[in-house]
Symmetry: C2
């Protein structure tokens, strides 16, 4: 069950690239990338998109990993976490359905 940080750390280490290089591509300090990889900072949506481009992986897959991390963070210390996620799913389906019309 990899978090977003785990995923991009693996991608980077597989290519044996230093933080410095990837961070330069993202146009941020390597300190931030280090923190992103260890889940101490939340990347911006734009950074996620850039990372997908950089590592040539599906943008949507990375976006799902990133978004789901944010959702988990939002509910993580709530007893009602699972119920809330399930209700949110219903609400999203409901909204999507009524948008089509």
């Amino acid at each position: 069950m990899d978090s977003f940080g785990d995923i991009i750390r693996k991608l980077r280490e597989d290519k044996e690239l230093p933080l410095r290089t990837v961070a330069a591509f993202l146009d941020i300090d390597q300190a931030i990338l280090s923190k992103i990889e260890r889940g101490q900072r939340n990347p911006s949506r734009g950074q996620v998109v850039k990372l997908a481009e950089y590592f040539k992986v599906k943008e949507n897959d990375l976006l799902v990993a990133w978004l789901s991390d944010k959702l988990v963070y939002e509910v993580e210390d709530e007893d009602m976490a699972l119920r809330a996620l399930q209700v949110a799913e219903e609400k999203v389906k409901y909204i999507a359905k009524n948008k089509k019309k």
Copy 2:
């Protein structure tokens, strides 16, 4: 598919109370409560708990409505919304399982 705001607006209107009265109990300006009821502001967790107490409804039910609203807000204009919610569910289950040990 009622949002948190819809729920508390109904509770308040059923009892024919003005915003002023409920807002005073929450110790905030009525303007904020008005915005909360129409989904323009996000209440704090503490306010949700107070509202459950005030209207004598199950705290957890209100918390679920509130939390799920926040989750929907977080993903609402993402194509990957549903996938992200589903992955988040798996992650939450995974975390809960490994916490027990």
